[in-house]
Symmetry: D2
Subunit: 464 residues, 4 copies
């Protein structure tokens, strides 16, 4: 039929294509994909890393257990990767662990603890200042070389990355994906087992409505087979409020597991607001008053979640580099069971292969009429051929709006700094962040030191 | 599981339950329904008619070819019908054919022809004035007796009926359904056959985005298997612009068929605005400049659609009364193949039995951010357990907004008359209607005569 | 001329007409008023107090130095006072000092200090819960007896009082007045003298744009004779940041003066946000993070403002009662120089006697498009015959929006409690208040105790 | 005082400075101005014309009866004129009378009569297409050379000119001025005399609220000394509905006077909508249904207003050129009584010399929350030092919104053509214009011919 895309000739450009995390997840999912095929164009400022992934990826199609046959190709320039792309995936590391160590740990000298440090809080704000200029560049390249491609961002800070893409190229067809919500949906499945003995339910079997901003999302509705899950969750919270609930992944040894938690922060937020917070506790905590869940390491321990240190990240990367070496040498093979991520499903829906509803981060064009237009919100959206249409969330409780808007206005202030080069706006956002419980002079000192530590990436700004 | 509804014990209240049209469609669809069962509570100001439908409906469950076993029960009071209802269906005839004859035909004395006369135009406006007070009453009854029920309206004028429900009871869970859009989707399936030889495609196989107001809806996107249907439609319009395209239903003898058309108005609107109008031509024409498609009967004939006269309606009713008699006597049996309507599917989705996206008329809480909040718009919406969430339409072309807003502001003016009793506002809407091409004095004379003819139903208003 | 009001026959209804503060200010201003005259109708639940003011007021017109001849009359019922009123002034004391002592001082047991306790913070929230039902009653009476009157509210919490009036009677012509902004404007006049030696400038000579919410207002523009005052203020802040600036009123002995301050909070907010905070420091502090300016009494002392205790209020009232006695007995006479308040000027503008621009608290119908419609904002407004039209503030910095919105969403939550009777919403607002730095259990305990202490006035709510 | 502007050294850049109309009005008003002085920088694509005005202007300061001493200087380049400007006045003629003749008179071949042809209707639309690119260029020059200047536009089509300025340079400080509203205010003064015998009232003595779009503005409130003028206007309309009312200017011989009218259109609009239309009838008529006031020349005559022909404009220009010659030669002197325009008053207010409220055309940032943000609306605004703040109009009747929005959406479509070069959008606006009562094919023919006639100025567009 005229107008049909050649589904066996799809091009996916991967910005940050040297990644040893998200890139391999994509490889897994493409390897099991029967309906579409084509090329994955890998671009990375570390070209060698992209070449390694090219080799790892191309190895896959030789395997008999792999049904999805894709070519992987590393490109030395971004225009090469983007030209002709149907999809662009962005998953970059803005700066090095050196900058990240400053983001996450320098505030500790001032009594500010961060469990992740890449979204909100002092670390998230400074990371954003560093990342936005990179996103501006990528948006300009997309506008020049693949303006009609659909763009999927995985980079953090999610909200400001997506906002940066839209700010520089307003017609971009971009959205941001994050699996934190899926984790909470799966957690509700575990609740079904624990509370009602219903086993085997998958997150896709639930219906839930997502509201909020990335890493600080909530369900205001959740049901299974038409049954409202809120009354059950209420009892579940009562049952486990003090002890926490160890889900399958965490049970063995939550303290060693940087990403796991006992959901006590989630339970506490339910006690407070009556909605189900839908992200890992270490993310949720960073959006709340700094003397609550993140007061100090002992408090964090009592709330039973973990502080993700940069040392851990370094160790983790080392392991992933080792894994990369093994993949390349053939000592180890990539696992080709589905990753649980939805990127490929989304691409297929956009190609006309199966409409569905899932949650995404996207510019607010009215889907949350109670929050400012142009902000980046996370809600459900309906994916269909060449369209992502958010569903309307017009009834968010004012108590949650108060929480969301504080960060959304901070996003605006940070973006204003990126657009004008004047760091004052970002500093005001810094002062308004709930983790920053410092007087103005001390806050300025911390801010300035953090800026200094990442200034190599801040050439767009006026720095005193 | 706790919190589950008893799916075999659903209560559907049917306001206007003596209907010999929509009520029978519902019976058909319930008769084929396997997952839910319960009672249909019939309420009608013509109690005898409701009793007849009670008998007709109860006959069904005795039939072997009927899988859906429902009890039908006529109620003498609306509170009886509503109490305990999970769903309320509203499908009433506001006034008699006497009033309708005035709505539709009196304007002809002034050179104003209306193809339907129940939505916009002089007839639609006066009908609205008569209907809104009835809807106010129904909304109050729902608030009192079944405030948590989902309410489906089929009555015209659709937009103002739904607006009336929300105006009187803002927390109502109501939406309006209309099959005009489905007709156009099916028409696109016929196009696929005509232009590409692709046979057997059903409207559910297409993806389309609906924008606008009831009976004046458009597709701004339509695709089949990921292929954009707009380029094909463009050629299709060129091919049949002059002759029109006779679809299956109309082919035999369109001129005798009041509801069929050759889609020439639809084609002309595509030439004008580049979007696919998605309703029957006789509806579309009424929203446009009065000297265009509805200038006089000859013009209507040239555009190849029909004027639905009230005489035809009387004759049609007579036939349906005869059919009712036969159903009652057993001479004839209700057809139990699916009707093509979606009401039962929607109810099931609201009970948690299958999420899906379809188009509905609902209050604008932001789904069309370019049109006034509180207006009634028709868009796609995502149906899931106890939720109808419109999808966002933030990119309607300004040319269509100009067309829609004219009528939407008229709705506001008419509603203002209903709320204040002051008919001046409705008269100003009358003057602003595109069919009313009269000077102010003549317009006032026509308006006053029309009001006079329906004044029995206008006790809420100050009439000179 | 037909349609003219009889300017010598104006009726002002005063709800709370037994007041020994605002009522006497009004008497002063009316006493000097030449263009309008008429009756002041005093209504108070303490009828005797109203009778006293009747006597005090009527004494005035006998005096030779009084040009404004007004009749004062105490009414036993609100309908008597309201009927025929052109203006309604609302200045009530919601509850007694007993409830206020709980509002202001009980939180101190939990380490929460409040400098006023009648606007935001735990005290403001609980006071609002008590006051809203009273405002609902007043709004209903106005709707019934004087729907066309202009209504001026002076009662705190201002925002929620005005919101309550509009919520109950949406067509009310109401606004709220507060002199805090005037104080800051006068303070800028003192700056002109201190920094530039310019003497004799009055606040009316300045032009300034007001943004924000009552008691937490800012100037984003201020000029004198076309000269932008911001650069001067910047230097002024630097000069006095550490010491504070003692204005004329405060100089003598600020520590004994409950209402005065050294503007250090104001200066600190300028350092933070670059805008000029425009209220007394004791009000401003209550809208900010609780561990900043109000951490403990020592901190308050260091910031050089005062905690207004209820004991002080009791003492102050005693003095005013004594003054009332003297006025009645003739031992003392009311001062008839202008009070500095603008109420009478506003009334005159609304009667067509002199258009002007001043700041008011009014429902947001779009004047601050960045904040929710329906919230109560304080901005400039243009007063003319029978009209108060806010001027547009479309460019508020995101950093301030973050501050304002937090409280505005709290107002929504508190109002939701008043409308539904469910105190959960108010408790969530309580948790979201920046002064409440408690964990959820402790916060609940404090909230419950505070509610208990005022429960006599909370019959509209479900109390556990 | 630091920060003060040198009020004797103001620079006004005049784009279109060779004008023989508006430029001389400005000269008149500056000649009587005592508080400010400086240079008027004349820029015109007809440099010689600017030189003439330089000479005429400089002659003024030699005169003893002239108190305002200004230097006039013609610049050959726009950057010279703009650099250092405090104010920019834009008053240009887009194209020549040749193009205007096509705009105004070609549609007559198709039965479409236009009384002005420079705002709405076929002529206004095509003129807009020609003018927007010029405004884009001017906006870019302002952004480059005088980004902080206040910009006053007098060019038509006003709304689209102002929209173009904001579209190209969103931070521009621009507004549009038009005297049509003043004319209607003066007309109300004549009513006061006619109906009540009150003589000597000036328009500045009235208070009125302006709503709408340029040349199609209304008063929804008007008062004199606090007396509502609507009841009087109602009687006035009844008195003169049939005959019309000849105001002072028109009385002698309205038919010979192109700009005068008997206000019958205005009266008819009052009968229809209950608001006072506030522009000359020849403008108002162009916004209404084409077969009403502008059906044909006889109809126009019956409504007692005039069709401004391009022949008349040519003759008028000839007279003005002759006048220019006389000014230059000294045969005649410019009249230095105030012109009645407000430009100089506005400039002074922006310099801090007298705040006041008047009506302007400006981007909708929320002042009319019921109309789209970003549209250009005409409302009252408060002028003060370096600020123009619109007053809020949140209560426009839906009947008027229907009229305004039709044209506002047309503006959006036309602007879309200017931004994309695709004339389809403008053609859709053309079809939606109330004067265009043609079928789609005929409309296309007319549109294409009109485009052809002005194509020399349409290099930005794709023309078939």
């Amino acid at each position: 039929m005229k107008g049909s895309k050649d589904l066996k000739n799809i091009k996916i450009a991967y910005i940050g294509g040297g990644s040893r995390g998200w890139a391999w997840q994509l490889m897994r999912d493409l390897a099991t994909e029967k309906e579409i095929a084509g090329q994955v164009a890998l671009y990375d400022i570390d070209f060698e890393a992209a070449k390694h992934n090219e080799a790892i990826g191309n190895e896959l199609k030789k395997r008999e257990d792999v049904v999805g046959k894709w070519d992987y190709k590393a490109y030395e320039t971004i225009d090469g990767a983007l030209t002709g792309a149907d999809f662009v995936v962005i998953s970059i590391m803005p700066g090095t662990f050196e900058e990240m160590a400053s983001d996450v740990h320098l505030p500790e000298e001032y009594g500010i603890y961060q469990s992740v440090g890449d979204t909100a809080g002092p670390g998230g704000i400074v990371r954003a200042l560093r990342t936005i200029p990179m996103m501006f560049e990528i948006a300009e390249a997309i506008q020049a070389y693949s303006p009609n491609a659909w763009v999927i961002n995985y980079t953090n800070p999610m909200s400001l990355c997506v906002k940066a893409l839209y700010t520089k190229f307003p017609e971009i067809k971009a959205f941001g994906c994050c699996h934190e919500v899926f984790g909470t949906a799966s957690f509700l499945c575990e609740m079904l087992k624990d509370m009602e003995g219903i086993d085997g339910v998958k997150r896709q079997d639930l219906t839930y409505n997502v509201i909020g901003i990335n890493h600080f999302t909530f369900f205001d509705k959740a049901s299974y087979n038409g049954v409202d899950l809120f009354p059950m969750y209420d009892k579940f919270v009562d049952k486990y409020y003090d002890t926490g609930f160890f889900d399958e992944a965490s049970k063995t040894n939550w303290m060693n597991n940087t990403f796991s938690c006992a959901h006590r922060v989630k339970f506490d937020l339910f006690k407070r607001y009556g909605s189900i917070a839908a992200a890992g506790d270490r993310h949720l905590a960073e959006f709340c008053y700094g003397k609550e869940y993140l007061k100090d390491p002992e408090t964090v321990k009592a709330w039973k979640f973990g502080l993700t240190t940069v040392d851990w990240r370094k160790k983790d990367l080392k392991e992933r580099l080792e894994k990369s070496r093994k993949y390349l040498s053939g000592e180890e093979q990539i696992d080709v069971t589905p990753s649980g991520e939805e990127g490929v499903l989304q691409m297929k829906a956009l190609l006309g292969l199966g409409n569905f509803v899932t949650n995404v981060n996207i510019i607010n064009r009215g889907q949350v009429p109670q929050l400012p237009l142009g902000s980046i919100v996370e809600t459900n959206a309906y994916f269909s051929a060449d369209e992502v249409r958010p569903v309307l969330c017009s009834d968010i409780p004012s108590e949650l709006l108060a929480l969301f808007s504080r960060h959304i206005y901070n996003h605006e202030s940070i973006m204003k700094s990126a657009l004008t080069g004047d760091l004052n706006h970002a500093f005001r956002a810094f002062l308004n962040d709930p983790l920053v419980t410092l007087d103005v002079k001390t806050a300025k000192e911390l801010f300035d030191r953090m800026i200094h530590n990442t200034k190599k990436y801040l050439t767009m700004y006026q720095i005193g």
